[in-house]
């Protein structure tokens, strides 16, 4: 089992905040698994996701990605980031149609336009938005925008997919559909890390649960469950 991330003595404090948003001594994340970051609001889940997405450089400590220490650099960071995609809790939709959003992402990753159409069709089909190509992305509901953002991320075929509260504000049917999709991603070699305060979801997905509180990891491992839903 190969180690994908290793965090050592990671500290992060937001400007004008007294307490640390992240205060992690050690954390190891293996490739090809599904993880749930579980904790209350303000516990540091999103900060940790941003750190893992290499968007937020830790103020101290060492972050290893794929056995290599992550260094701050104009050109090295974007290269590493291309393997990681973060879907924010409230994702930003680019101006234009749903398909334009996916096309923009593929263009940023350097996927040629011939391959783009198939990737867009597949990704939208995966999240149940097959007929949404021509819809204006900004006019969709919050739940639909989340699914577009997930499709946009999946179209890139990332090595790591980070999801911040992916099913918040979604109806029961959509939640079930997305959980089923997320459950299958590790089989495709994608490491999935979900930030959620929904412990039941983490258990349904049979994920390895990382408990976070006040920026500190207080439990790291499987929480025993009787049976997960999507097996």
């Amino acid at each position: 089992m190969s180690e994908l991330y290793r965090l050592e003595q990671i500290r992060y404090r937001y400007a004008n905040e007294r307490r640390l948003a992240l205060d992690i001594d050690t954390l190891s994340i293996d490739a090809g698994h599904l993880y749930s970051l579980h904790g209350a609001n303000g516990s540091g889940k999103s900060t940790l996701l941003n750190c893992l997405a290499l968007l937020l450089p830790p103020q101290s400590g060492a972050l290893y990605f794929g056995q290599r220490r992550v260094q701050r650099g104009w050109f090295s960071l974007p290269r590493l980031r291309r393997q990681i995609t973060l879907v924010h809790q409230s994702p930003y939709m680019f101006d234009g149609r749903v398909s334009d959003n996916l096309r923009m992402a593929l263009r940023l990753k350097g996927v040629c336009s011939n391959q783009a159409q198939q990737a867009i069709d597949d990704a939208l089909d995966n999240v149940g938005l097959k007929d949404f190509h021509q819809r204006n992305a900004r006019e969709l509901s919050g739940g639909e925008q989340k699914r577009v953002a997930l499709a946009r991320a999946l179209a890139l075929k990332p090595k790591v997919l980070l999801l911040d509260e992916p099913t918040a504000n979604m109806d029961k049917y959509s939640v079930e559909r997305l959980e089923q999709l997320i459950y299958t991603l590790p089989e495709q070699g994608i490491t999935v890390i979900i930030a959620s305060h929904d412990l039941a979801q983490a258990q349904r997905l049979n994920s390895r649960i990382i408990e976070i509180q006040h920026g500190q990891i207080i439990a790291d491992g499987d929480i025993p469950i009787k049976e997960h839903c999507y097996a």
């Binding site: 992402a105 940023l108 890139l156």
Partner: protein, 230 residues
């Protein structure tokens, strides 16, 4: 009142007859101001973005200076650039004074703070999720900025229009650095000033109407672009 009505009639007649003198002046104005605004944009947009996205010591002072420069008097710009370009000045050897080149330099100086400030405001007022989203989708530093520019393009267009509006309607720089040479550096505004002083009120009015028409056309074009993108 008859004087105004008669002058308006003559002005419209001059416009509708495509009077060579009028349209030559309009062409000179638009060409010089268009070149100036393109150069000012190439300078100002990157500066505006860099200032907006970065925190640095002296940022507040920098913003104050930029705001002050927005109200830069055109005659002061004309005077300073005149000093540099005049025969005794440090750039006198290039022989730029009383050429369209000198007017472009002056107009670039006038437009740069305006376009910079508007761009800065557009970036500051933009959605803070744009750059992180672009970055997490694989954008590098430059492609991320390109995505940002695309998303705030209407703010940047407003910057361009504000800058263009300022320089196409100014007199100080055009008069002092262009010299109001007929068929060469005579612009709409310098022609209006000259013709009115000569008593050719209708001619000045015709140019004034065209100047207003240009402003209207630019705004209609911007609205058209905004509608089309929706």
């Amino acid at each position: 009142m008859d004087f105004i009505v008669e002058s308006l009639r003559t002005a419209f007649a001059l416009i509708l007859s495509f009077d060579g003198e009028v349209f030559n002046t309009v062409g000179t104005s638009l060409t010089i101001s268009s070149v100036a605004i393109v150069i000012a944009t190439l300078i100002s947009v990157p500066i505006g973005i860099v200032i907006a996205l970065n925190q640095f010591t002296g940022k507040t002072f920098c913003l104050t200076i930029l705001n002050t420069l927005m109200a830069l008097p055109t005659v002061v710009v004309g005077l300073v650039v005149y000093g540099f370009l005049s025969r005794q000045g440090p750039l006198g050897q290039f022989g730029l004074l009383f050429t369209p080149g000198a007017m472009i330099i002056g107009q670039v100086i006038l437009a740069t703070p305006i376009v910079t400030n508007y761009t800065l405001a557009a970036v500051v007022g933009s959605d803070p999720r744009i750059l992180p989203t672009a970055q997490t989708l694989g954008a590098g530093p430059l492609t991320g900025i390109m995505v940002l520019i695309k998303e705030i393009r209407f703010g940047i267009m407003a910057a361009l229009i504000a800058g263009f509006g300022r320089i196409v309607a100014e007199v100080g720089v055009a008069m002092m650095l262009g010299g109001n040479i007929r068929g060469y550096t005579r612009t709409m505004t310098t022609a209006i000033a000259l013709e009115t002083s000569k008593g050719e009120f209708a001619f000045g009015l015709a140019l004034g109407l065209i100047l207003l028409g240009v402003a209207l056309a630019i705004n209609i074009f911007l609205n058209f672009l905004q509608q089309r993108s929706r």
